[in-house]
């Protein structure tokens, strides 16, 4: 009898322990569903993908950071202070003392110098953010030099605007890696490149524990973090490619945050119990590129007219609801000098007048290369309808992303509908793309968006170049404002929207911050109550 009782008790215990997991996730663990099949590496010197950039942002520290609410406020993170030399070409950084890497090693100027030199020497996709200051694999050791245990100098080829340099140093490519740990794992002089692809050597609030491609990424609290320790012990990214699946998982409570929801799903979740929606401005910009090789589109009145033939607000409220907001300048909200005016709205009468002035009272026919994703096609069809109101017959040519982009890059399109994401947090990234075209010939070496649309702008290019050298931040911001207004009025771009990132999360999650760039989504202080 006693044995039977023991058996029953034991099986009850067993049943209790292994009872089917309640849907709730553990209180110290944040589980996110996200599509992260774009990750190819976890090495901050190479990461240039949306999802990996966010992970780098939470696991590594950079020299400089900016206020997520007000991007114009810069502050030191690994750097304690900095000083620009008289000629403006050299910046001396002092490193904050007492920081440690997750491995327990001290973070010193040696690590910072190593990290910057390493990124330049490896020369992967994001390396241009650093090499644009005149560094090459050969000269970087003479240009970025350690001058003390906690001090180093950063010497550039020109007197660039200090804000430009500092914003560039906030990007993931300037993350500080643990020199000792990386060199321990070096093979054949690769600076630890092969090892760091799948491993971690940082000092951020979280440490990367594991990456299982297309399955999961696991972050754990970094106990050695110098700042305020993360309240969460663990953050798990789960790869869930289908947005409808993410929605169902969130409703059931299997996950805490769903990251890739469409407008209709968000609308449906707004009314759901126990779920809240948070949004943040992102840098992505949706625009139409009008090829100036097309004689009709090259007429200034036609360019102007097309800007009055998009129902910006209706698209932002319906087809792209919750994903975009109307924005018509080339610098997204949250950048230094960004212009937030929206002078254009749907006005077919005005467009007709302008077209008549251009000698096209009956409109014209034109094609648009449209990527076959639902959002781009949806916008394309809506634009097609409003263009028709002024007699502009828009033919949509569908194709996959590679097809349309190849055609665009070869300047063979009429109109291209696309999305542009800034490469780093400084206004120069978009100014260089939209408002600079040093060589408009077919064989040009630099092919920014202005080149792709064959917009020949020697004057504006000079202004763009001058803006990166302007030392005074306020004057610099004013220069960008002026350029944006000029491009808005005359440019061959119908800039329509700025992207919004939306995350739907359970009510008990707080402190998850959607920042202005992809590496600025932060959960270092996120908690679950």
């Amino acid at each position: 009898m006693k044995r039977v009782a023991t058996l029953i008790a034991a099986s009850a215990m067993f049943a209790l322990t292994f009872a089917p997991a309640k849907a709730e996730t553990p209180p110290d663990t944040l589980v996110m569903a996200w599509q992260f099949d774009d990750i190819i590496t976890l090495d901050p010197a190479e990461v240039f993908e949306f999802s990996a950039a966010e992970m780098m942002g939470n696991t590594y520290e950079r020299l400089i950071g900016y206020d997520l609410k007000d991007v114009s406020k810069l502050f030191g993170v690994v750097a304690e202070s900095w000083e620009v030399s008289q000629d403006g070409k050299t910046i001396t950084f002092k490193i904050r003392q007492g920081s440690k890497f997750a491995s327990g090693n001290d973070l010193t100027a040696e690590d910072v110098v190593f990290s910057l030199q390493r990124a330049v020497k490896l020369d992967k996709s994001p390396a241009f953010i650093l090499t644009q200051f005149g560094f090459t694999a050969d000269n970087v050791e003479q240009k970025i030099v350690q001058t003390g245990d906690y001090e180093f100098t950063f010497e550039m080829d020109q007197a660039y605007a200090p804000t430009f340099v500092l914003y560039c140093l906030t990007s993931t490519v300037a993350s500080v890696v643990d020199k000792k740990l990386v060199l321990e794992n070096e093979a054949n002089g690769d600076l630890g490149y092969e090892w760091l692809k799948r491993n971690y050597a940082g000092s951020g609030p979280f440490a990367l524990r594991q990456w299982r491609p297309n399955e999961a990424v696991v972050l754990e609290r970094n106990e050695n973090y110098a700042g305020e320790k993360a309240p969460l012990a663990r953050v798990i990214y789960q790869h869930v490619p289908e947005s409808s699946t993410q929605r169902l998982m969130l409703e059931r409570g299997d996950i805490d945050i769903a990251r890739n929801l469409g407008p209709e799903e968000i609308a449906a979740l707004k009314e759901a119990q126990g779920i809240k929606i948070e949004t943040g401005d992102k840098g992505g910009i949706y625009y139409l590129g009008l090829n100036q090789k097309n004689e009709t589109l090259a007429k200034p009145e036609v360019r102007q007219a097309l800007k009055y033939l998009v129902d910006y607000q209706a698209i932002a409220d319906t087809i792209m609801a919750g994903q975009v907001q109307v924005h018509q300048a080339f610098l997204p909200k949250g950048f230094l000098g960004a212009v937030n005016d929206t002078p254009f709205q749907l006005d077919p009468e005005k467009a007709k007048e302008l077209l008549a002035k251009a000698g096209l009272p009956d409109g014209f026919s034109v094609t648009m290369d449209t990527r076959n994703t639902p959002d781009i096609t949806g916008m394309g069809e809506a634009i097609q309808q409003t263009f028709a109101q002024a007699g502009v017959k828009l033919e949509l040519i569908p194709g996959d992303g590679a097809q349309t982009l190849t055609k665009y890059r070869a300047r063979e399109h009429d109109i291209y509908i696309g999305r542009w994401g800034p490469d780093y947090q400084d206004p120069n990234t978009n100014a260089d793309a939209f408002a600079a075209n040093p060589d408009n010939s077919d064989g040009a070496s630099a092919k920014p968006l202005a080149w792709r649309n064959a917009w020949d702008i020697p004057e504006l290019t000079k202004k763009t170049r001058a803006a990166v050298l302007e030392q005074d931040p306020e004057k610099r911001a004013a220069m960008y404002e002026e350029m944006q207004r000029e491009v808005m009025e005359t440019g061959p771009y119908v800039i329509m929207f700025q992207e919004i990132e939306v995350a739907a999360m359970r009510d008990n999650v707080s402190g998850f911050i959607i920042g202005p760039s992809f590496d600025a989504n932060q959960f270092g202080l996120a908690r679950k109550d």
Binding site: S244, E264, A268, T318, T377, E381, L396, P398, G399
Partner: protein, 310 residues
């Protein structure tokens, strides 16, 4: 005389058609066709298939009269978008505030056009290659059949995708791409039929009279291969519709805003949970029409296949 010349009334026409002693070739042929029709009409499923196809054709012809709204111009995005089926919009509205019923009705034209053009292009090509290959034999046969094999070695949709990528998107290019990929089975069937009849006595007799290979193939072999190819084509039509819809679904078929059914499903996919009708309605249309062609093809096989019992 008068009585003979004017056989009036249903029963006498029937007698004229079913007589065992036809007086002319035309009468014999018509009689044969009538017997086939009687056999066909006894198969209720085949009749159902025929009915669906006829409805499709009628809808396509009278699309302008049947549609209640414009298939391409949508209503107000803010108020008329993604409306459920109602009196104003019988099958609801889509992402661009367009009436789904009107789009389906106009889309039937595209579907029918795709099916007919593919048939018109692919069937003669397949028939010619198959009969020539089967009749001539030797190296011609080897070369033609290896080409056929190459085409058969690719999955059809993938090959069509590759052609569309090369030709550029658009409904005409989609039709060409589907036609290019759909002739090989017809060639195979025609070749197999040809092999069984190339040494028949009547073929040998024509050859002895000095007929050229061209004449023998076109006048004596092709007509005998046509029935089995027609059956195969009818059965394939469902596949053609699905391939066209597949290309449309992948955004490489018809150009927006053309109301192509596959493209309509693709655009409704993202709303499937909350706005089921956007993707479901064109899905039902594709399903019904494909089923119709399949049933029709099945019925035709029972009637036309010489080996099947009559």
């Amino acid at each position: 005389m008068a009585e003979l010349a004017a056989p009036s009334g249903k029963s006498s026409l029937r007698e004229w058609l079913t007589t065992s002693e036809p007086r002319s070739r035309a009468q014999a042929r018509l009689g044969n066709a009538y017997r086939s029709w009687v056999a066909f009409s006894r198969n209720p499923l085949a009749m159902f298939g025929l009915f669906i196809v006829l409805v499709l054709i009628i809808v396509a012809i009278f699309a302008d009269q049947l549609a209640t709204h414009s298939p391409t111009v949508g209503g107000d995005l803010r108020t008329e978008r993604l409306q459920p089926p109602s009196a104003a919009h019988w099958l609801g509205t889509d992402n661009q505030a367009r009436d789904i019923y009107s789009r389906l009705v106009h889309g039937s034209r595209l579907t029918l056009m795709v099916v007919m053009l593919v048939t018109v292009i692919a069937m003669p090509v397949g028939l010619l290659i198959g009969t020539v290959s089967g009749y001539m034999g030797g190296w011609i046969d080897a070369v033609l059949m290896r080409i056929t094999d190459i085409f058969l070695a690719f999955p059809r949709l993938i090959l069509a995708l590759a052609f569309v990528a090369a030709l550029g998107p658009g409904i005409v290019n989609a039709i060409i791409a589907i036609a290019i990929t759909s002739w090989p089975p017809y060639a195979r069937i025609a070749r197999a039929e040809t092999l069984t009849i190339r040494n028949s006595d009547f073929v040998v007799a024509v050859r002895l009279q000095g007929a050229s290979p061209f004449r023998i193939i076109t006048r004596h072999i092709m007509p005998l291969c046509v029935p089995s190819v027609i059956i195969r084509v009818t059965l394939d039509m469902a596949g053609i519709i699905l391939t066209a819809a597949g290309l449309g679904f992948l955004g490489l078929g018809a150009q927006p805003p053309t109301p192509e059914w596959g493209a309509m499903i693709a655009s409704g996919r993202q709303f499937i949970i909350d706005y089921w009708w956007v993707a479901t309605m064109p899905g039902i249309a594709i399903f019904v029409v494909s089923l119709g062609f399949n049933l029709l093809g099945d019925g035709l096989r029972d009637v036309l296949d010489p080996k099947a019992e009559k």
